[in-house]
Symmetry: C2
Amino acid sequence: MRVRASRPPVMADVARVAGVSHQTVSRVLNDLPNVHPSTRKRILQAIEELGYRRNLSARALVTRHSRVLGVVSFDTTLYGPASTVHGIEQAARAAGYFISIVSLKAITRDSVKEAIQHLAGQGIDGIVVVAPQRQAAQALASVPDNLPAVAVEGGRARKVPVVSVDQVGGARLAVQHLLDLGHETVWHVAGPDDWLEAEGRLKGWRDTLEAAGRRVPDVLTGDWSPRSGYEAGHRLPAEATAVFVANDQMALGLLRALSERGVRVPDDVSVVGFDDLPEAEFFSPPLTTVRQDFGLVGRHSIELLLGQLQKDPPARQRRVSVAASLVPRASTAAPPGA
Amino acid sequence: MRVRASRPPVMADVARVAGVSHQTVSRVLNDLPNVHPSTRKRILQAIEELGYRRNLSARALVTRHSRVLGVVSFDTTLYGPASTVHGIEQAARAAGYFISIVSLKAITRDSVKEAIQHLAGQGIDGIVVVAPQRQAAQALASVPDNLPAVAVEGGRARKVPVVSVDQVGGARLAVQHLLDLGHETVWHVAGPDDWLEAEGRLKGWRDTLEAAGRRVPDVLTGDWSPRSGYEAGHRLPAEATAVFVANDQMALGLLRALSERGVRVPDDVSVVGFDDLPEAEFFSPPLTTVRQDFGLVGRHSIELLLGQLQKDPPARQRRVSVAASLVPRASTAAPPGA
DNA sequence: CGGGCGAGTGTTAGCGTTCACAGTTAACCG
DNA sequence: CGGTTAACTGTGAACGCTAACACTCGCCCG
């Protein structure tokens, strides 16, 4: 029976219908005590009747809190970033926050900086920067001092707490797995130089080989794309019996190249990837890989961020590291001569 | 040399420093005419000096526009939705809008409805619902009347304009390609019943076969996952020489299953997928598939949405269809006996 | 029985913008 | 040189909400 109002109802309208002051309506809306049950009921009824929704701009104006969190990310088309952002979104929503996303096509120091400024101007309460590249990590310096922030894979960011997957440890698992199978040494197809994840995996690979006293072969470098893995696969020396590829997409390309060359996996060469794409289990052969729990990373980052929003911030943890785990499948086996 | 203010500067502060009224500052900020160049310069300088940023909550409160658009999507971890949302985000940002995302784990009528309500309460200017399931399409009815909205893959939504890829046409391309190669008929691994995309591809497949007067085999059904494609691959009758799989992930699983069965692709069986994942080119063998331009879909949806925000909405287009294209690779060839 | 207290409610004053005006110049025209 | 006009600038009032405080009861206590 309600007339379609030209203007959406405001608190005063509710107050009038319920026969109280707007302040009492506000109290009900914010679950404050000292409102008589019967009054509360009348107000709730009026809200229902009018289809009232509180105006969050007005609320944000006075409280200085928007309950919106900003996220800056690189190419959310990729599985890793997409999963991380998804995890962040889920965790934020569970905590009653909204997510405003800026997804960058290219990561340069300036583009990240601009994105951060852009979001900061939006009146957000905090910001998560999914910053897997060194340049992005540097741009973290441009986060305003008064804006709570968290970096994901942000390297040794100075001002900002960082959540990251233990890339070094994950790489160690992969390489050790291959050594345990009896391979003399392990080759590596790395990600792009300027990516922190690539750096960590490279380090984990090298450290593990050196710790085992093995020869450290030349590094092949790709750009994460299947194509670059394919090219690496064609450049891989015939003597190699084991390869640790820095992500699953490149591993796929490499598998393809090896198949074209008539090299059998795992009979002639063992291959380990990184990421555990949903597809990895169905590669030919199914790919042994290292799984990262992106959802957990997202959850941790929100946790850290919301921690900073508390009145008395808990001794703010500077780094949270999430363990990676090995998923053994059919792309790894003992070396040919064994 | 600026003192770290306890409170961020506001327009009045800028006005004081520049020796003008707050209204003139506002004029500069909004690029309105009739401000003396020298005054403008002084104001800009003051803004710079104070590090002033305009408070968007206050602005939104009075203009009744937040310049934020809401997006409701299903599992942004998947390539399709992720790419679409990415396209939406890019297009929106180019137009000066921010994106607030709600990503659903499961699509039910209620969850979509709740997400829409949730966003509507956020004071957004418009909403894009990436609604590839029938249930989600139904939930579109719960978009408030006064809130501009656009559906992506939204079926025959009544109230809301829809942007979608021409699934039927894409499927036709795939099936016709196989028939042209000389195959007697084409089998189909479909997506889940309640997905509109699955429905469209199924229809395109069936129509094309019927138009050509071919036998229409029983449909195998999956759930988009590689695993379900794998299972379908094991159920595929030995007589089949060509399969059109409703997405690339399932096609991957199917390829794996066929490989295990000793069935050669494309020698014994030809396979066509749908989506053109970045990985598809490096499957074994490289997958012939149908490409969808998700970015274009995103751009169109924003275009349609912003159109509704104009004062005099242009004769609002009810449906925009984006063509799909065939990408021939090595997984298709003439049938064995040919 | 006066005073204190606590529950419940109302009043007022912002929050930082933009909008609708109302001024104030200086320039221009006949 | 009076009057119209255009360019520029300022004033006051919203926008819808919350925070701080003030008020009114009824009740309990000494």
